[in-house]
Symmetry: C2
Subunit: 215 residues, 2 copies
């Protein structure tokens, strides 16, 4: 059955690979699964046809035969469950890998997204200059803990898993902030993720859609 | 094998059931699984023994024989996978229920947590009075979309699932804000969740630890 995902017709990040379809593309590339992409405009994302697929009017979505999913975490988990390469066989190791998917999305990413919101939605507010350092310190709290857990391991728990895919994807949001470079082992961890051929293919595929066009 | 979870020695919410151990207790009650609770102080949560279990120094954790997990979403998912009552049998319906777990934690809860952070960590900042209405509007955006998806259904997708358990738990955070009451179908949905005997047992168990003691 054909797998179809949705992505921004034009990503707000201009092709830096931070839109969440890149995470799903990466998982599909790790799993060796071909997929098709349906591009949606910001306007179309808020219309009934897309809201039927994604009640919160976002991307990505995932369609495969009669199955329709939304939420990047759920989609990556679904791919990881149905194809080899993203979750260990051992039941306990698998549960721990799933834990890292949730940890990336629910514990590490929220303060990173708050920094993004603080800059984008509140960038012109009078309080932003004083508030952004508070947000950066909340991110540092998490990075410090993650760095202390990773130490010098290659991946978070044994071999590369969907948990690493998600954590690297979350940390990639920090590249332009300089915060990641304060934790050398995390910066190296992210670089290892980016170096994976599957990530490279996923990144190139989203860039082909989003790269700045010649004026 | 004995299941042991961790919870706050003294919950910051004074027994309103908003600490995340309540979500795990609820899942275990729905699954009919007995469990033990180890209470941890704020100080102990940041010490090596607890950090070995939970790298971000939070509660709850979950131990069962050789398995140790953290992250509420991962724990609830693990319980739902290994016991009947929280996930449908049909594979596609199961994937959709998992989607709602992620949607609750990653799409609906973040703006709700931002409102909490805005009040608690930034409550005395000069910008807070002007900023809180912005945060409330971001929550309303999500509630409106969720309300439009739920319409008059009893649960989010067929029978009660771990997805509903998580969504109700997330929405319960809004009870004191009045925001939930702006969406009658969501308020009724949350009330249905609270009325479940398993939730009642979970709530009572955490209240027994956290209820205000006579001075």
């Amino acid at each position: 059955m054909t797998i179809t995902i949705t992505a921004f017709e034009r990503s707000p990040d201009g092709g830096r690979g931070l839109a969440r379809d890149t995470r799903v593309r990466w998982a599909l590339e790790e799993a060796g699964q071909p997929y098709e992409v349906r591009l949606v405009s910001f306007q179309a994302m808020k219309e009934p046809a897309h809201l039927a697929l994604h009640p919160f009017g976002q991307i990505p979505t995932y369609e495969e035969g009669a199955l329709a999913l939304f939420e990047t975490g759920a989609i990556v988990f679904h791919i990881a469950t149905h194809h080899a390469g993203l979750l260990p066989e051992d039941a306990n190791a698998r549960a721990r890998a799933v834990t890292w998917i949730f940890a990336a999305l629910n514990t590490v990413e929220p303060p990173i997204l708050e920094l993004g919101t603080g800059k984008m939605l509140e960038g012109k507010k009078p309080w932003t200059k004083e508030r952004l350092p508070l947000l950066e310190d909340r991110i540092r709290d998490r990075l410090k803990q993650l760095s202390a857990r990773l130490v010098d391991a290659e991946w978070l728990d044994g071999g590369f898993s969907a948990g690493d895919l998600m954590m690297v994807s979350v940390l990639l949001r920090l590249k332009s902030s300089g915060l990641l470079d304060e934790y050398a082992n995390l910066a190296a961890y992210v670089a290892r993720g980016e170096a994976r051929p599957a990530y490279q293919r996923a990144f190139a595929a989203q860039l082909a859609i989003n790269k700045p066009r010649a004026g």
